[in-house]
């Protein structure tokens, strides 16, 4: 066996409690004030939108621990040319692992040996400056990612062609649409030529077509024999790209092996049982808390609350909410349904585009979302739910609610479509034969 491209040996990262998250006297005071009154300090910090790791940290502190281990004794090797996926729930230590591998921060103990030039993409478009033109930003971003100016110059045409932006390359990027911006940013990243590539969920950007292009580019890169370490929530992408996977849980490496086995294990044990905890008691949410979802029900056509919907029936989702901050900002609700098994997106209900007026939310109430002719095949689905007020996310639940669908007569033909038909979603349609003879 050849020498490993990345070998990670007993890697640990400890955060000392009280040293991250709260930097100012005000934050510190707020934290202690909440503790003193016997309240859950997590509540105060959730509102500011602290990340997953921070939540685990606060939990550790409450359990009376002095330290918090974001990573603990993680060891594994990645062989040259392998594409390895890193899977784990929020707060499992994925980001910390990536940060250490990309040398953004140091581990507390342990060692990593990396053989070959390393390029890491934790974000696309790092260092983009709005006032600079597309061309200037390509150079800036390329050198930040570790390329030489010469290299960027050599690849400039390729990058511009990949981003499909040749007409706008000398326009300041502040005039770009967000789609153009992301395309340019990814194009630079895609043309890095390191031997080892570390990729965070950057694929979760841009439109579907561009995502497919990015995924294709990653596959090309892996075929060129380069080593890739890939972190994503998108199981479909992980399965498509990776040969092996590593499952992290609570900072520890729980399983390593064949990508199929690992994703199955993850989906079985790690999917949050969304419906088991009432929505208002859940803590796996982010946002500033100015609006909070407090409950939900799903009703059928006859206004009966149901546990499982039938394909093809009209359902109404009722979302209860509370609003603490009243202002004139428009509110948007985002309701995205994805498969509970693969996390593949099925459809999206986004009030900003599908509702003619903006939603006016009061202090407390219910949002009713009606979906006529539910286009889903039988199975378990999860809903990514969020509410935006103006530009800020007020409440977001990645696995907001669970939706079970059973067989139903979608087409009104008395026949059922089989799940094994791989049809994605169901759509109404007609057939017609026009015989000319």
């Amino acid at each position: 066996m050849s020498e490993a491209a990345i070998s990670i040996h007993n890697l640990s990262k400890r955060y000392r409690l009280g040293t991250i998250g709260r930097h100012t006297l005000i934050d510190e005071t707020k934290y202690w004030w909440h503790k003193l009154r016997g309240r859950d300090p997590r509540k105060a910090f959730e509102k500011i939108g602290y990340g997953a790791t921070e939540r685990r940290r606060v939990e550790a502190e409450q359990a009376g621990n002095q330290d918090f281990w974001a990573l603990r004794d993680v060891s594994f090797d990645v062989q040259p040319g392998e594409v390895v996926g890193i899977i784990g729930r929020n707060g499992a230590g994925k980001s910390t692992l990536l940060k250490i591998l990309s040398r953004i921060t140091e581990p507390t103990s342990g060692e990593v040996r990396i053989r070959g030039r390393i390029g890491s993409l934790l974000e696309v478009g790092t260092g983009f400056h709005p006032e600079l033109t597309g061309r200037e930003n390509v150079f800036m971003n390329g050198t930040i990612l570790g390329m030489k100016e010469r290299e960027v110059a050599r690849k400039l045409d390729e990058i511009v062609a990949f981003a499909e932006l040749s007409a706008f390359i000398d326009t300041p990027v502040k005039r770009y649409s967000s789609g153009m911006y992301v395309r340019l940013a990814f194009a630079v990243a895609a043309h890095l030529e390191p031997e080892i590539l570390i990729v965070d969920e950057v694929l979760a950007v841009g439109d579907a077509e561009f995502q497919a292009k990015c995924l294709g580019r990653m596959q090309d890169v892996s075929k060129e024999g380069r080593t890739i370490l890939f972190v994503s929530h998108n199981m479909a992408a992980i399965q498509a790209l990776c040969s092996r996977a590593v499952l992290l849980r609570g900072g520890e490496c729980q399983m390593i092996g064949n990508v199929q086995e690992i994703t199955e294990a993850y989906l079985k044990t790690h999917l949050p049982k969304a419906s088991h905890l009432p929505i208002n008691e859940r803590t796996d949410r982010s946002g500033d808390g100015s609006v909070r979802f407090t409950g939900y029900r799903i009703r059928n056509e006859r206004n009966v609350v149901i546990n499982a919907a039938q394909s093809g029936e009209t359902i109404t989702v009722e979302l209860d909410y509370e609003r603490t901050v009243m202002n004139d900002q428009p509110c948007f609700i985002y309701f995205r349904v994805a498969s509970g098994e693969t996390r593949q997106e099925k459809f999206l209900c986004f009030s900003r585009v599908s509702h003619p007026e903006t939603l006016r939310l009061g202090r407390r109430g219910t949002i009713r979302l009606t979906i006529p002719k539910l286009p889903l095949l039988p199975g378990r689905y999860v809903v990514h739910l969020f509410c935006k007020v103006g530009k800020t996310v007020a409440d977001e639940l990645i696995d907001g609610l669970e939706l079970f669908v059973v067989d139903g007569d979608f087409y009104g033909t008395g026949k059922l479509q089989k799940i094994s038909d791989n049809s994605g979603v169901l759509v109404s349609h007609q057939w017609e034969i026009v015989n000319s003879a």
Binding site: Y15, T19, I20, H23, T24, K99, I100, L101, S102, R103, I104, T105, E106, P107, T108, S109, G110, E111, V112, R113, I114, R115, G116, R117, I118, S120, L122, E123, T126, G127, H129, E131, L132, E136, F139, M140, T143, I144, L145, G146, M147, K148, E149, R150, P172, E195
Partner: protein, 278 residues
């Protein structure tokens, strides 16, 4: 094939010189970006950086020269204040840019690795460009006064000026590194810095000649400030007036070296894990 080893507690004394050299293109582009991005969509562009010290000089001339009537040692007031301001602005610019380099670039530094020293180091060059621009203006005034027969006798010390400029840059860098490392822990420093720098300016012979300070202990304190020698010697080089103290120059070099080296080490130690606390 290059091997990167990531380990806990990499030694604070190992400054990644080779890596810095490998990233020189980034330094160049970063300096360019800092210089050009600021002026986009402004009408007079870089001229803003000339107007500001010019106004400072005029204000000093009016307040300290005309109203307070502080001696300028026989040097034309305008030249006296402007030469001091020139060096002080360079020092202050490098210091400020270095001091805020980690905190203000968090979004980049938490996403990608490159030798962190690039950020404060770029300040030395960016501010040097401003200094060069301002020097042109200064030289214009200087020659105008010179040919009108003002009492100024430039001497061989002018060849020493580049070294004084370099020293100013390195000194600003050294203090900048110190402050940026300390700001990670104590954010308050960010608010205190402008005030402290202002005070420091009055502790430097910019609006008064060093000659005015005669009490030995005060004189020692004044020359302990490494900027004193820079300002005093540059003025002496250009006008032949002032009180250049050779021991003061030596002391100032010593302090500069001390601040720079300790700043480099401290910064190098802090940059390893600063993203955890930022």
């Amino acid at each position: 094939m290059q091997t990167t080893v990531i380990r806990a507690n990499s030694p604070w004394w190992r400054i990644p010189v080779r890596e810095l050299w490998e990233y020189r293109d980034l330094l160049t582009l970063w300096v360019k970006r800092e210089l050009t991005a600021v002026y986009r969509q402004t009408i007079i562009g870089p001229l803003w950086f000339v107007i500001q010290p010019l106004l400072t000089t005029i204000v000093f001339t009016v307040i300290f020269g005309t109203v307070a009537k502080i001696s300028t040692d026989g040097i034309p007031q305008f030249i006296f204040y402007m030469s001091g301001t020139l060096f002080w602005n360079y020092f202050q610019g490098v210091l400020n840019q270095g001091a805020t380099s980690l905190v203000s670039n968090t979004n980049i530094l938490t996403k990608v690795y490159f030798p962190r020293l690039i950020m404060p180091l770029s300040g030395v060059f960016v501010q040097f460009a401003h200094l060069a621009l301002n020097s042109l203006l200064f030289l214009g005034f200087y020659f105008w006064y010179y040919f009108r027969g003002s009492a100024m006798e430039p001497n061989a010390w002018v060849f020493f000026l580049p070294l004084l400029i370099l020293q100013t840059g390195l000194l600003g860098l050294g203090f900048g590194l110190w402050v940026s490392a300390a700001t990670i822990k104590y954010r308050d420093l960010r608010f205190a810095l402008p005030f402290l720098v202002q005070l420091w300016m009055y502790g430097t012979p910019i609006v008064y000649p060093a000659k005015l300070v005669v009490k030995p202990i005060l004189k020692f304190v004044l020359w302990l400030n490494p900027m004193t020698a820079v300002v005093e010697f540059s003025r002496y080089a250009l006008t032949g007036r002032g009180s250049p103290e050779l021991w003061g120059l030596g002391l100032s070099w010593f302090v500069t070296a001390l601040v720079l080296v300790s700043g480099l080490f401290l910064f190098n130690k802090v940059q390893r894990t600063f993203v955890d606390t930022i």
